[in-house]
Symmetry: C2
Subunit: 332 residues, 2 copies
């Protein structure tokens, strides 16, 4: 295992220290491992909180800032943050209008965010709603998940719902929008290599030099099946077809994300996006907005994932609203 780290035990603390040094425009509580905006939102606005295991950067700490999250809670590598961390962050981002928890559907995350919600309601009287993202069409139930796993739609949801919270919508509306975005998003990933968890020191799984795995999870959970290495045009088909089979994307503006898993260069991600875009056009799917890059990763895994969101005019307007975070930035 060759990595730019000091040692497996220090990975999360050291990376967060570097993140803090790189982003003086954010406030990092290194003891509790929580990333906050430097300037809290105005009173009366819903707080948005997400978080999860480390190893998926820029998710979630890279999406804290104006137009997206108010805070992100950072767990150990591929490990849920604790209820205490979520409790602390929830109390701090509440400015009186309540807090929305954005949780990816992994058993540990769901349990710990739930526990924190109960604690914060009892202890501090903070109203909390939760949305659980479960957009991965790969498999029903997985290594750490009952139901579908939560992946790329999380990024799009944090952007869209972040803009809605910025407008001052109330907790019920923000939560309802978040659920609607989740229901409208679908993802599927492919791995060319395994990731290597620092504490394990060796690849999470073995993938022969002539094979790829469709439907891989962001923690290296098994996918649908393995295939012989294929041209990008074939790989694109293996990603697009199951997504289009799972939800009707016709007649609506679609937001597309071609996401890298951490170890694939940008040139390959663009190449894959070209193949995906051609297939979508041939299928009559109208891509209205698109992003290409590393947005939700799996350490050093080579590969990519595709997320499609069946949007509407409201979602597009919220998507286009200004955002200023380390991981997504545009507008004013």
């Amino acid at each position: 295992m060759k990595k730019l780290i000091n040692g497996p035990d220090a990975v999360v603390a050291d990376s967060l220290a570097g993140f803090a040094a790189a982003h003086p425009e954010l406030r990092v509580d290194r003891r509790n491992r929580i990333v906050y905006r430097a300037t809290p939102k105005g009173p009366g606005k819903v707080g948005l909180l997400s978080g999860g295991g480390s190893g998926h950067e820029p998710l979630h700490s890279g999406y804290v800032g104006p137009g997206m999250l108010d805070a992100a809670v950072v767990g150990e590598v591929f490990t849920s943050p604790t209820p205490d961390q979520v409790l602390e962050a929830t109390k701090n981002v509440d400015v009186g209008a309540g807090v929305l928890h954005i949780v990816k559907n992994y058993t540990g995350d769901v349990m710990n965010f739930d526990m924190a919600s109960e604690l914060v309601a009892a202890e501090a009287g903070v109203r909390v709603e939760s949305v659980v993202v479960n957009d991965d069409v790969a498999v029903q139930d997985s290594l750490y998940t009952a139901g579908r796993r939560g992946v790329g739609t999380t990024v799009l949801l944090e952007k869209i719902v972040g803009a809605a919270a910025e407008e001052g919508r109330d907790l019920a509306s923000v939560a309802a929008l978040a659920r609607r975005v989740n229901e409208s998003g679908r993802s599927l990933g492919v791995a060319l290599t395994s990731c290597t968890v620092p504490a394990a020191g060796r690849p999470t799984f073995e993938l022969p030099e002539d094979e790829l795995e469709i439907g891989i999870g962001i923690h290296g959970e098994p996918g649908r099946r393995r295939e012989k290495v294929a041209p990008a045009s074939d790989i694109a088909r293996l990603l697009v077809e199951p997504i289009l089979a799972d939800l009707d994307f016709g007649g609506a503006p679609v937001i597309a994300m071609l996401n890298g898993m951490g170890g694939s260069p940008l040139s390959e991600l663009y190449l894959m996006y070209g193949e995906v875009a051609a297939l979508l056009e041939a299928s009559g799917v109208r891509v209205a907005r698109r992003i290409v890059g590393d947005y939700i990763t799996s350490l050093d895994m080579a590969g990519c994932s595709l997320t499609l969101l069946r949007a509407d005019d409201e979602m597009l307007t919220l998507w286009d609203a200004p955002v200023a975070t380390p991981g997504l930035r545009w507008g004013a």
Copy 2:
């Protein structure tokens, strides 16, 4: 070799097609392999043109847009674009105030940009100035270079000089600023793995599982020396010390870039930045601005590079000016 490609011969064309699909806000001439802004600069402003071999994305095509380049010329993987491509692009970005060529110091690039400058002056009467970036402190002369190689300072230069050109400064001033930025920037890189050029199909060099290479080039050119794999804090020292020994960075605001080579995840880059920032602080170097991410890459190479720019107030103001490109974006 596992890559998200259709075949080695189609890599550049296919990736550019995907780039075009992903960035409708830019204009891509796929035949000549040139990326332009969709809306040219106003008359009387100097055109900024760069380019080079593919495989370093987002450099250079990702830096086309308001506040940075007017166009980027795209060569084959690790291969200079042709004089004809540079000629075509130069003619198109000239709006009467002349064109600055930003060229990384590799023999092929320097020769082909020079040839294009002569052709365009003779054929179309366009005034051209060139700046050759040679900021890599690793080695004097290299596999494809007489003198020092040109690497990370190119990114910072394109941003700073892009802002100056946007202000309407004349060609001589823009070129002088570009040379001053180049003289003020220093870089050094480290590889944990080789890159794999698609056409070759195997790693460019062999690096044992317990070694890293200091001073690696962005085409996999040999560096200064190999070391046993070390903690990030030691690697940071191996990058920082030769840079500080090469130029006095004291008493000036410094712009720092911790850049990924393509195959290292963002979490490791942040971690490395934390180590670098601590060393710089201990050395009395004042980092005024910093960026962390993949900005000038070497295909799928794991590793990183550090660039430090000894800036001044003028450069900082230009750095902070708005920019809206796929690879760098902030401000209005």
